[in-house]
Assembly symmetry: C2
Homo-oligomer: 305 residues x 2
């Protein structure tokens, strides 16, 4: 089998639809993933915005098998597989790799805080050795505002040095461009740097990055991909500014419920509003206010089934 | 079956021993639990200090079944069952309740941050309704320094009001005596308040609390229980001071590896030193320094097998 290529471009941490009993709704998720692929956006399912850490390992495995069975392109898939317990991370990562996913997006173990780089290194080494598959490709998921555990430059370099064909990229959701720049400045061989917000997409591309994996790719995939495809054009600054306006509108609300409310409205399917606790869906006033703000920006979603 | 009594006294978040392949070592855990019970200390297995969030749900279920099969007293058991995904919390809590455990110590869902009281309330309500067992007894686990998600007084009151026979107590590991005092001041009907550090044990008992659930109960159970049994005596201040000295000695090191190194040394069994990543066991210099500091305090462990 051909070795999987390293990923680039725009990927979406796909929001997870739930049935009325709060079970994951595989059929709706499949349709949403098909639509995202039609917009040239890859599938970073089981991200933070997917409520991945409100799903059990078995729920994630069942969903991933359904996506692959439905014929979705595994070359565009980078499921989140990092759990608090490395034994869970091994189980989920092995599943994703066996199913042929081109990459996995891996949170560090996130319950214990103030852990050392040695401990985090040992955790990743344990996962890599136990999965024991040449096809495994790990993108490190750095999101200190939520995980409160992250990756130092030294730790990244240790992992790349030890596992150069396995640890192949990072999603930087620090929200701190200086951190992203410091990663890019290291110029590790073909190390793929994704920003976690499209606000930094143009800057990332201009400095050697490869794309972004962003919440708002759930609702604004075509426009984000357009900047990715045209970052060297005269239009780039204007495209970036247009993305920022939509993002700023969304950021005035709790992001995950706001994404779901937006998809629910534009697909005329209220089932999309459901979230798992501890999240709470938008109230009717908040929802109306959000949609009004989006309409005022001339926001549209194209091709949503 | 008789309704379980509410718990009080000293409980221990029992450290989890691992085999050389890092699998949980049920036999060593059973022996340790037997020793703790012999010291009049209850079993809050799967706490933070148990590396519970470095274990999968199935690993915890297997261990709990082994403990119960070994005949350990379920009336003294309060396993930690709170996971990031409520579906996991339901699975583990139902298991503990079915096995007859007198209580469960429940973390809030801890991945998503800045969640609302409404969302946390919904999460606990979902767990309680799905477990659907009159025998379920929940002790809320408030540990904001690590979980970064916690319980407001309003949230506690809402849960007690809705589920007065289920939500029956709290472990306050905020490290903030003013927070504990504000809980005690509410004087909710027979609501059991444990402090998460024996440093606050005497203060807790004097203000209506019922005991503590503390890391150092792993190594100093008899002395902590002695203060609990004698908090109204003339000796109480001196007993508290002696506990504080041992705690302060331990706090100079990473707590979980330090507890394990201490048990390893006093039981002449180096297997106890093993931790799961992302934790790292003490180095030889640190270990020697810790043991030397404990010896200098005249520290001994009684009856350890």
């Amino acid at each position: 089998m051909e070795k999987p290529k390293r990923l680039s471009g725009i990927l979406c941490p796909v929001i997870t639809p739930f049935n009325s009993n709060l079970d994951p709704d595989a059929d709706r998720l499949i349709r949403q993933c098909q639509w995202l692929l039609s917009q040239n956006v890859g599938l970073a399912v089981f991200g933070t915005n997917s409520e991945a850490n409100s799903l059990s390992v078995n729920e994630k495995i069942d969903l991933l098998e359904r996506l692959v069975d439905a014929g979705l392109d595994t070359n565009r898939m980078m499921p989140g597989t990092g759990c608090s317990a490395f034994t869970d991370t091994v189980t989920l990562t092995a599943c994703a790799t066996n199913l042929g996913c081109a990459g996995t997006l891996m949170l560090p173990p996130f319950y214990y805080k103030n852990v050392s780089d040695d401990g985090l290194y040992a955790s990743f080494a344990e996962v890599i050795e136990r999965v024991g598959d040449d096809a495994l490709r790990i993108y490190l998921y750095h999101i200190p505002p939520i995980a409160h555990v992250g990756f130092s430059l030294d730790l990244i370099e240790r992992l790349i040095t030890a596992y150069p064909n396995t640890v192949v990229g990072i999603k930087d959701s620090s929200g701190d461009w200086e951190n992203t720049r410091s990663i890019l400045d290291r110029q590790w061989n073909d190390f793929r740097v994704f920003v976690g917000s499209e606000s930094f997409l143009l800057a990332n591309m201009r400095n050697g990055g490869v794309g972004c994996i962003s919440a708002t790719a759930n609702i604004n995939p075509a426009a984000i991909d357009r900047l990715y495809c045209n970052w060297q054009s005269d239009q780039a600054e204007a495209l970036q500014q247009a993305l920022d306006e939509i993002r700023d509108t969304m950021m005035a609300y709790p992001m995950i419920p706001a994404l779901k409310a937006t998809i629910a409205a534009f697909s005329a399917d209220d089932a999309w509003c459901r979230v798992r606790p501890p999240l709470v869906q938008l109230g009717t006033v908040q929802r109306a206010s959000l949609l009004s703000a989006l309409h005022a920006k001339g926001f549209r979603i194209v091709g949503l089934s």
